[in-house]
Point group: C2
């Protein structure tokens, strides 16, 4: 927006007209909060007093209203004034839906990922440099011509893709029929389908604490509660399962047994057996979120819970996002046929199934070996990056933090010794061009933790970020004695 500085129309009137147009076009609908006076002045390159004059005029017209502490809101629009009635107040609708907004910190992260030059030290996805871009373009060149009519009508997903998934599952010890596999648009959608399709309002999920699940609202938005079980270096500790089931009416267990997010822990085989046994006794079904499995760096993790399970108690979730690309949006759920039927029905009601183009590309990636070969490449690259980060931490954080070297996945779960306000650290880091995922996102009590990721930032960037981070931590710790 450029104001005309040679015009005979005064600047404050031009500002007023500019805002009026935004309001009358519906872009700033009733209920919208206006940008601050300062930011309006900045973006229009006028004095703040000019903005204030314009806003006063608009308030006098009954179009906007300032509230103490609440900023200025659009309360009516030009059309509404003509009709002498107020138009629909979308603000009320935005607040009405039952779904919770993303955590403010997560929204901030989502936004800041686009700031140029930002170093993303917490991100849960691969660096674009690690994606199989060339090979994938090659695969598309050989696309058959019938692609557009593929897959759409099959509620559980394209049958050929399910065949490839079934082969992939076989290789990790899961034998299943095609009717027990549902193709989904990524693992997150699997969780959403489970939440709306299988669980009641007021259900309680028993899960590791910390857990990735605390950072999303898929279950809480539907009125479900979480009870966290402690996790040690062998994985989730199931001793309390029985108590928690009784005490909190727990109805399902959620776990990330391999390269747990955010701690990186791998559940041992022994612990897996114990968990299965305990859940079997308690008649608690298990959701096994296994999206990190193929990202082992030192040795493959133990067999899946699903593969060890003899009783159909486990719903298994896998995905291509962590190796091939998150942008493909292809994952799967495997479970007893009636459960999969139900989830497929809801998937059909939500979006009529995953993109047939993505489904075809996923099938080809699995069938041609692209996926497996690229998994090898990613493991190699991530191993080097993990080792780099480990070295940097040794160098810069050995006196002010504790951590365990992960054997796979994306994350180091770093515990800072000084007790710093995590929100302050997040903001300070952001100001220095570093994007962090503080531990509080995954457990409100984990105020001393950071989830560091070695999957996104290049080695040079990690070096820069870790150096700055040390400096920030030391500054924020202030007088606190570090022991």
């Amino acid at each position: 927006m450029e104001l005309d500085r040679n015009s005979t129309i005064p600047l404050h009137r031009q500002v007023e007209n500019y805002i009026k147009k935004k309001i009358s076009s519906g872009e700033w609908a009733v209920g919208t909060k206006l940008p601050s006076q300062r930011s309006l002045a900045d973006s229009l390159a006028v004095n703040r007093s000019t903005v204030i004059t314009a806003l006063e005029e608009l308030a006098a017209l009954g179009l906007i209203e300032g509230r103490h502490g609440g900023g200025t809101k659009v309360i009516n629009n030009t059309w509404g004034l003509v009709a002498r009635r107020k138009p629909a107040d979308w603000g009320n609708y935005v607040e009405a839906g039952r779904y919770k907004s993303n955590l403010p910190m997560i929204r901030k992260i989502n936004e800041a990922e686009f700031y140029p030059g930002m170093i993303r030290m917490g991100t849960g996805e691969l660096s674009p440099a690690l994606l199989p871009n060339e090979r994938f373009a090659g695969l598309l060149k050989n696309a058959p011509s019938g692609l557009l009519s593929l897959g759409y009508q099959e509620p559980k997903g394209d049958i050929r893709l399910r065949e490839e998934i079934s082969r992939h599952l076989m290789a990790i010890g899961i034998q299943t029929e095609l009717s027990s596999i549902l193709v989904v648009s990524g693992a997150l959608q699997a969780l959403q389908l489970i939440s709306i399709g299988l669980l009641d309002h007021g259900s309680t999920l028993i899960l590791e604490k910390p857990s990735y699940l605390y950072s999303i609202h898929v279950f809480q938005s539907l009125g479900m509660r979480f009870v966290g079980l402690p996790i040690d270096s062998d994985g989730m500790r199931p001793e309390k399962l029985s108590d928690y089931k009784k005490q909190y009416q727990g109805s399902i267990v959620y776990t990330i047994p391999s390269f747990h997010n955010p701690t990186g822990v791998v559940m041992t085989e022994k612990r897996r057996r114990e968990l299965l046994l305990e859940c079997g006794r308690e008649r608690l079904p298990i959701i096994e979120d296994d999206v990190y499995r193929d990202l082992w760096l030192d040795a493959p993790p133990p067999c899946t819970l699903k593969g060890m399970d003899q009783s159909g108690n486990v719903l298994y979730i896998g995905s291509l996002s962590k190796i091939l690309s998150p942008g493909l949006r292809i994952g799967w759920v495997v479970g007893p046929a009636p459960v999969i039927d139900r989830l497929a029905d809801i998937k059909m009601q939500s979006d009529y199934g995953a993109s047939s183009l993505s489904q075809w590309a996923a099938e080809e990636s699995l069938r041609t070996g692209l996926y497996e070969e690229h998994a090898c490449f990613v493991r190699e690259q991530l191993k080097a990056r993990r080792d780099d980060l480990a070295e940097l931490l040794d160098q810069y954080f050995s006196d002010i933090a504790a951590w365990r070297i992960p054997t796979g996945g994306f994350y180091v779960w770093l515990k800072l010794v000084p007790k710093i306000d995590p929100h302050l650290l997040f903001e300070e880091a952001l100001r220095h061009g570093i994007l962090l995922n503080p531990g509080v996102m995954y457990d409100r009590g984990a105020r001393q933790y950071l989830r560091l990721s070695y999957a996104y930032a290049a080695s040079e960037e990690m070096k820069k970020a870790i150096r700055i981070l040390r400096k920030l931590v030391m500054e924020l710790a202030g007088g606190e004695k570090i022991t």
Copy 2:
């Protein structure tokens, strides 16, 4: 499954073992209903008595249980028997989720679409023969190599796709900023996001009756109610809006103004203005579902409600599914920025955004003119098909039904004169290889109606189907006098 007829193991024991394996593997989990004795006998090619012996044995073992009228269910499994406890009862979970199942008739339709040779006379999608398969494959050949890292991170969808959508909208008279556009995985997902993001449990939607919306559960599953307004040849009649808003606490209006599904009606420009005025007065926001707009056969429909709206009261939904391919799963919602922000946040929480591959293909299709050119082709083809169907109806149904020739979209809303049980007609037609969408799917009271589609079946198939349909209607009408 093949039984070994030369084995020393008796057949009934083999059947027993076969079922045991299904149960112990979890494929037939606890809560699963077994296939009927007859269908088991058929699929295993044994006598029904052999199946009965096997089932009796399994019941004695405590693995299954027959209920009068309720069929036979798995109540335990081999592992559960060993542990002396029952494993998780998935059946309970399947029934627990708050989401409703698809209507039985719709599930039947979804299933029957795969029966070979079935003539689909009600389907809401284009025949595969009408999809731009060759050109689309050509487009993929030129895919750039950075595809996998596109779009994923932008909550509102790839910015280049939104630019193309904005250009497309401009051409139909909608001016909007990119921040007011949200890319979704098809129009159905738009409705789902609106239902969970903007509306409260217990909200009431005011909509046309009949309406496509009655056939899906997106809103009802979240406890929302519908109030239907009558529709005449000019579209939804808004006179009762005010009454209905008061009487039923209506909170939002949903309409398909152009080529309404299922009636095919186009709302006149005059009626559109009245609706907007009335909704403005009543402060009722409008959801404008405009996915059929580009399928005009005789003349383009009047301007969109969104384009006529001066007050930001309209949320607009569009899609590529009806012209390009449903398999792409790309649609859009356009509305006031705060509403779009909210919906984008929920989309991110549901599936992290649409497939980047689909988004790129959609962008290319719009940018290169493939979409527009193909729209011309589809219009031409559909026009011929519509004329064919009209001729067939004249020939075979003029004495037993009434209809209006649609000027666009996919459907003829056929009213049968004889009062036949629609479920009976559906079943009979199915037996004759014809898949129908009875009117009751769109309005429980529309028992005499059928939604006929000319988009899927080829002319020869339509001819065959219409002939048979006449025969079935006459038979089922029986003695009823046709006037």
